[in-house]
């Protein structure tokens, strides 16, 4: 990857470059953070971000104001799933829904208190989460996006964002508590 040069033919290249720099490039850290947590290694994350920014530049003419960070993060996410052909499996999510509504595996409040999570085990537990849970947690807790922003980045309904975040946190707690998780 990295040969995205065909993206850059724009007659107003310089002006667009300046606007793009001002509106989009300042969110590069957020873009890399999301890509890094999705890809889980530096090299893939850099490839994803590079490709995503080139795509963003190509589509920048279609960007009609709004939140440039949300817009860029949506492109980063799409780029990641396109490059890795890792579409989050809908079937797996539905299984989790069953588990939730059955209420069979409610967290035992006492067990939640047992371990104070240190940074290293948090990092490892977050990396072990399925990507559809990892991405909502990263967007919410690290990028501090609202539900509405997460919904527009992930192309989910706001209600789905809420339930997925709830399940992501339950899952993370269980990971931290060292429980075996049946997926």
């Amino acid at each position: 990857m990295g040969d995205g040069t065909s993206a850059l033919a724009r007659p107003d290249g310089m002006d667009t470059g300046a606007t793009f720099e001002r509106e989009v490039m300042r969110h590069l850290d957020a873009a890399y953070n999301l890509a890094r947590w999705l890809a889980r290694n530096d090299q893939d994350a850099e490839d994803v971000v590079q490709e995503a920014v080139l795509r963003a530049f190509r589509f920048f003419g279609g960007f009609r104001g709004g939140d440039a960070k949300v817009w860029l993060l949506a492109i980063v996410r799409n780029t990641f799933y396109t490059l890795r052909s890792q579409v989050p499996a809908a079937g797996r999510i539905d299984e989790f829904d069953e588990a939730i509504h059955g209420g069979a595996d409610h967290d035992d409040p006492q067990s939640l208190l047992l371990r104070a999570a240190d940074a290293q085990s948090l990092h490892a537990a977050l990396e072990r989460l399925p990507p559809e849970f990892r991405e909502v947690l990263v967007l919410r807790e690290l990028e501090e996006c609202s539900y509405k922003e997460i919904a527009s980045i992930t192309n989910l309904k706001i209600g789905t964002v809420m339930s997925r975040l709830a399940r992501a946190r339950e899952r993370l707690q269980r990971e931290l508590a060292g429980k075996e998780v049946a997926a």
């Binding site: 040069t5 065909s6 290249g13 470059g17 850290d29 939640l112 940074a119 948090l122 975040l165």
Partner: protein
């Protein structure tokens, strides 16, 4: 509200994403239910841990530099041999693009000429209005007097606003003709300068750039189905301040009641 409802809602509560009524219901339940409160505390602690754990990864400087070096450069032509029909197709596409660009340019040019003509018309109306006895048909600083005066004289309800507080004194109004249409003209004073504000019903068109003709500044904008053209010899930024003040000011109360 029961503990099953709380399973999702306590997260939305933690994220400050609930409405006032739901927040209150959740807070009440948490006050009464030890199990849910413990769960809530655990997730609040998890959030605190996540945010303190320094998990955010910043873009490496090398990546930033690499992307920046690629961005403004023009494309390289791909060195792929092409079939003849592909070339023909490309030529046809190029023709279409040229035709479309020309049509677009013509449309822009026509619009620009139309806008130029309108500005010239507005300036000459403004100059004529400054001749003795031509400026004002209804002389008053009261917006509630000016507005009813237009009733029956124009077939729309003009926006009349008192901008004295912003330094633009409403001195009156008159009928005028602009672009072949009967329009309402409001007259404002800024120190010794006169500002004519013309307005008439129009579909929202492309915003025209500010113009200067014969030393007069012309600003055009659309609002609420009306086209506005302001003309004056005040400094350009004063006229822009006038536009901002006029657009920001709510219309006269009598207008809302009509």
């Amino acid at each position: 509200m029961n503990c099953q409802d709380m399973r999702l809602l306590l997260h939305a509560y933690l994220d400050d994403e609930l409405g006032a009524a739901e927040s209150l219901a959740v807070a009440r339940h948490l006050a009464e239910c030890d199990a849910c409160r413990q769960r809530f505390d655990a997730y609040a602690r998890l959030r605190g841990n996540l945010r303190q754990a320094d998990l955010h990864r910043s873009a490496p400087a090398a990546l930033r530099a690499r992307i920046a070096s690629q961005l403004p450069r023009p494309a390289r032509a791909p060195r792929v041999p092409r079939q003849r029909w592909q070339m023909a197709l490309a030529a046809l596409a190029a023709l279409f693009v040229i035709a479309a660009v020309f049509a677009g340019w013509q449309a822009v040019e026509l619009r620009r000429q139309g806008s130029d003509a309108l500005a010239a018309d507005a300036v000459s109306d403004h100059v004529r209005s400054l001749l003795p006895g031509h400026l004002i048909d209804v002389q008053t600083s009261n917006e509630h007097t000016v507005k009813p005066w237009f009733d029956g004289r124009v077939d729309f309800s003009p926006q009349v606003k008192d901008l004295t507080a912003q330094g633009f004194e409403l001195v009156g109004g008159r009928l005028d003709v602009l672009d072949g249409k009967q329009v309402a003209a409001l007259v404002y004073k800024r120190h010794l300068h006169t500002i004519n504000l013309f307005q008439w019903p129009a579909r929202a068109g492309a915003a025209a750039p500010p113009q200067t003709r014969d030393g007069y500044h012309v600003l055009e904008w659309n609002d609420a189905g009306l086209r506005f053209v302001a003309v004056s010899s005040v400094a350009e930024n004063d006229l822009q301040a006038f536009e901002r003040a006029f657009r920001a000011q709510p219309a006269a109360a009598s207008e809302a009641a009509r």
